[in-house]
């Protein structure tokens, strides 16, 4: 009985979580349409605390904080999802090919990933964005390039585990190319873990966006992102604390929600059967000896 109650509680919590995340996304998507950000230079009072007219107060240029926040949410989610998608695409192709290739190509490709891990990525991103200006496209490409490496490992591990399944052997025996095998047989199988890893990756990418914003390398104004708003809030912590409270608080809540969702999804869908536990895979350190090779370079 008590077990059942707990389970029910869990399900309800998961549902609430889902509603929270989806609701946030919808609000971000549509809210910015209904409450568009005014251009600066209005007659509205600047840096004003919450009031009836402006529920969340105004920012330092007299713009409504609620509108800014909604716009910022949309930007950050856009950048985050874009970067994650890019990482998934790159990681899947690379990891999938490595997984299917012969041991030598596989080895070489995974050494390539090692080189990638040894690059101080965030520093290259900082250089890239500070040298070549700030655009949303550049931002999500740069962040996507940071995030694809662990995904390449996830996919490769999944493919390695699946490659001796009869349906794959059959597909290959019928003369299917690597590309065909990946597309038609492997990706459908790996879809579930990829969704889970994407969920776990998303908050990390969004945090990196905030980090770049603090360094003044975020999106281009007057566009706002969650990160730029939080950075602005930190800057005005003493004189306009509500900016930090509103922007920082909502960002933190959303990130916590995403992390939780990732955890729950991983547990529910049991992804570690295919690819190993998320914790181990997301531990994106050096290729731990024996992990890359656990199914043996010599197995085929």
């Amino acid at each position: 009985m008590s077990m059942k109650v707990r389970r029910l509680g869990r399900d309800t919590l998961d549902l609430l979580l889902l509603i929270f995340l989806l609701g946030g996304a919808v609000v971000a998507l549509l809210g910015a349409e209904f409450f568009p950000t005014e251009l600066a230079g209005t007659v509205e009072p600047i840096a004003q605390g919450p009031s009836f007219r402006h529920i969340l107060g105004t920012d330092t240029l007299g713009r409504d904080m609620l509108a800014r926040l909604l716009e910022g949410m949309r930007t950050t989610m856009g950048v985050g999802i874009g970067a994650t998608l890019l990482a998934i695409i790159l990681g899947s192709i690379y990891g999938g090919l490595a997984g299917l290739a012969g041991p030598r190509t596989d080895e070489a490709m995974m050494r390539g990933v090692d080189v990638g891990f040894a690059l101080p990525y965030m520093f290259l991103v900082i250089l890239l964005v500070s040298f070549f200006g700030r655009s949303m496209t550049l931002l999500f490409i740069a962040l996507g390039l940071v995030a694809w490496l662990p995904l390449a490992r996830v996919v490769r591990a999944g493919v390695r585990n699946l490659r001796h399944e009869p349906f794959l052997e059959a597909a290959r025996m019928m003369g299917g190319s690597h590309g065909y095998v990946l597309r038609a047989h492997l990706f459908p199988q790996l879809g579930t873990p990829l969704v889970v890893y994407a969920t776990l990756m998303l908050p990390v990418v969004m945090m990196q966006e905030a980090f770049l914003s603090f360094l003044g390398l975020g999106v281009k104004p007057p566009m706002a992102s969650w990160g730029t708003l939080v950075a602005e809030g930190v800057e005005r912590m003493e004189t306009a604390p509500w900016i930090l409270i509103v922007a920082g608080g909502s960002l933190a809540l959303w990130l916590i929600g995403l992390h939780l969702a990732g955890d729950r999804l991983a547990r529910r869908l049991n992804v570690h059967r295919t690819t190993g536990t998320p914790e181990k895979i997301m531990a994106v350190g050096p290729a731990p000896d024996g992990q890359d090779q656990e199914d043996g370079g010599a197995a085929s």
Binding site: E38, L39, A40, G41, T42, I46, A47, T60, L61, G62, S130, F131, G133, R134, G216, K220, P221, P222, V234, E235, R236, M237, E238, T239, A240
Partner: protein, 544 residues
């Protein structure tokens, strides 16, 4: 839930802690944060950014100059009020044309290794600064000396410089054109002497070597990049008795909020110009604390308009933008810490200077001008690219103007932030419509403001070139009589403001925090410090 007996005290303790943490510390009433004078006369300064180096003649930046003035001294020096005062030279005279100057050096002036500061040291130093292979970024400061430009361009030998040492104590300088203000120029670090015994050394690989030999009121004790620069009172400085500080410590703190935090915590005694956030400066000003010092600066914040590009090549469009620039709102809401809205280039604070009158107009006039130019309601105008560097208030200004111009004129602006070197490069290439600029003059002379827009001046990125304007400036340079000179300059400024290659926004101001136990620091428009007379009252306590 079971109540546990220890809950209450723990919770109340926690509450107490939280309450304490939310306060702004055990600040002394009426002051900002803690006020405890240091035990010895040491001045701790938040100085913004590390100087690029210690050589006074190589750099052109306020940070490098501040350190240079600590460790070196020129023929003349500045007082804390920003007036000139005798330095290495005890007296000087000019010929009737103000073209040839004779400086008499004090025989008691010494380098920190004990040797005398001689007239020849200046000649040596100036030639070195102008040497193309030395590549000083401040060489331009010397261009008023006859022959200097050609030497720096590599077209003439160093011996052609119009300066000679008659004896160890007499220095004669000849200028390109008359300039009664030249003695004040010798108080600028690029004209400071560097010790001849140090010339072989390029100061390279500091801190491997010794501290540099200087002739200023302080000598370097330690310098660690991004950490601190410590200078101790010199034993050889000719005016050492007037120096009351034992040590000066510069902390290069680049985060403005951190600077305020340290000041609140009582770990910093003085925050120099531009080191605290504008919003907090405004708050301190509003609270009326006695530690807040506002001073105008001889600097103008303005926008450069690219006159080579459509539609800004049309002066009517430029004028329309100028008329609808909401300076008052920008000054009040984005700066609001002593900054004053201004429609003119030359600061009105200069003694005896009156600005020319320029025709005003409202948004209606502006829209009319725009229609005359063939862009009714801003139609046909592409989005104008407004470039600025990130950090500071520039982004806010750009966004503010974006809103104003879009609403008033229907002209769309594309604020384009980038880092400083990128902006500099795009500015030089002319790849912009509008660019933010600040001009900070070295010396309090009106012509210093106008030279920026002279044709061929590297700082003029507008592409605007006006022969009448250039001729007026050239004539003003040759005019010795101050009233006549000012009249010429006023005509030049009027011409500039009528043709609008630039839109002046405001006259800059600095807000600085100085602890009540520090005496003798007076923020001034030139942002200089006279170290004689600065003291720290170690026995200070708040008045009851």
């Amino acid at each position: 839930m079971k109540t546990r007996p220890w809950n209450a005290p723990v919770i109340s303790l926690l509450l107490l802690l939280v309450t304490a943490a939310c306060g702004s510390g055990d600040g002394t009433a009426g002051y900002i944060g803690r006020v405890h004078p240091p035990k010895s006369p040491v001045l701790r300064v938040a100085s913004g950014e590390d100087p690029a180096g210690l050589d006074p003649t190589r750099y052109h930046s306020q940070n490098a100059w501040r350190v240079a003035r600590l460790l070196f001294e020129g023929l003349l020096a500045f007082t804390s009020e920003g007036h000139t005062t005798p330095g290495v030279a005890s007296s000087w005279s000019a010929d009737t044309e103000a073209r040839v100057f004779t400086f008499h050096l004090r025989p008691e002036a010494r380098w920190s290794d004990g040797s005398r500061v001689r007239a020849g040291d200046f000649i040596h130093s100036w030639r070195r600064t102008l040497d193309p292979s030395f590549a000083s970024e401040a060489a331009e400061t010397l261009y008023t000396i006859r022959g200097a430009r050609l030497i720096n361009e590599g077209a003439a030998g160093p011996e052609t410089l119009g300066a000679r040492a008659v004896s160890d104590t007499v220095l004669v300088v000849e200028l390109e054109h008359p300039d009664p203000g030249f003695p004040a120029r010798t108080a600028l670090p690029p004209l400071f002497p560097v010790p001849p015994q140090e010339t072989a050394r390029d100061y390279l690989n500091w801190p491997g070597g010794r501290a540099p030999i200087g002739n200023g009121p302080f000598v370097l004790e330690a310098w660690r990049l991004n950490d601190r620069l410590v200078a101790r009172r010199s034993d050889t400085y000719w005016n050492r008795d007037a120096i009351e500080l034992e040590r000066v410590i510069f902390y290069p703190i680049t985060d403005k909020n951190t600077t305020v935090n340290l000041y609140r915590a009582g770990e910093i005694d003085w925050t120099t110009a531009n080191t605290i956030p504008v919003d907090q400066a405004r708050q301190f000003l509003g609270a009326g604390a006695s530690e807040v010092h506002v001073s105008t600066v001889y600097a103008t914040y303005y926008l450069e308009l690219n006159t080579r590009r459509e539609p800004l090549s049309d002066p009517r469009v430029r004028r329309a933008l100028e008329l609808t620039t909401s300076r008052e709102e920008i000054a009040a809401s984005i700066f609001g810490a002593g900054h004053r809205p201004s429609r003119v280039m030359i600061t009105t604070d200069l003694p005896d200077w009156t600005a020319p009158e320029i025709a005003g107009g409202d948004a209606e006039t502006a829209r009319g001008l725009l229609a005359d130019a063939g862009y009714p309601g801003g139609e046909g105008i592409p989005p104008l690219i407004y470039i600025y560097n990130t950090g500071g208030p520039h982004g806010a200004v750009a966004e503010f103007l974006q809103g104003t111009w879009q609403r008033q004129l229907g002209i769309r602006i594309e604020p384009t932030p980038m880092d400083y070197p990128s902006m500099e490069e795009r500015g030089r290439r002319g790849d912009f419509h509008i660019m933010r600029s600040i001009w900070l003059v070295d010396l309090p002379a009106p012509i210093e403001f106008l030279e920026v827009l002279e044709g061929g001046n590297p700082n003029n990125l507008t592409g605007w070139r006006d022969s009448t304007y250039d001729a007026l400036l050239e004539e003003a340079r040759r005019t010795l009589n101050r009233q006549e000179r000012y009249a010429l300059l006023r005509r030049a400024e009027e011409r500039l403001l009528t043709d609008v290659p630039i839109i002046p926004l405001l006259q800059y101001a600095n807000v600085q925090l100085i602890k009540p136990y520090v005496e003798g620091l007076r923020p001034n428009p030139l942002d200089v410090v006279g170290w004689a007379g600065v003291r720290v009252d170690t026995g200070w306590h708040p008045p009851r």
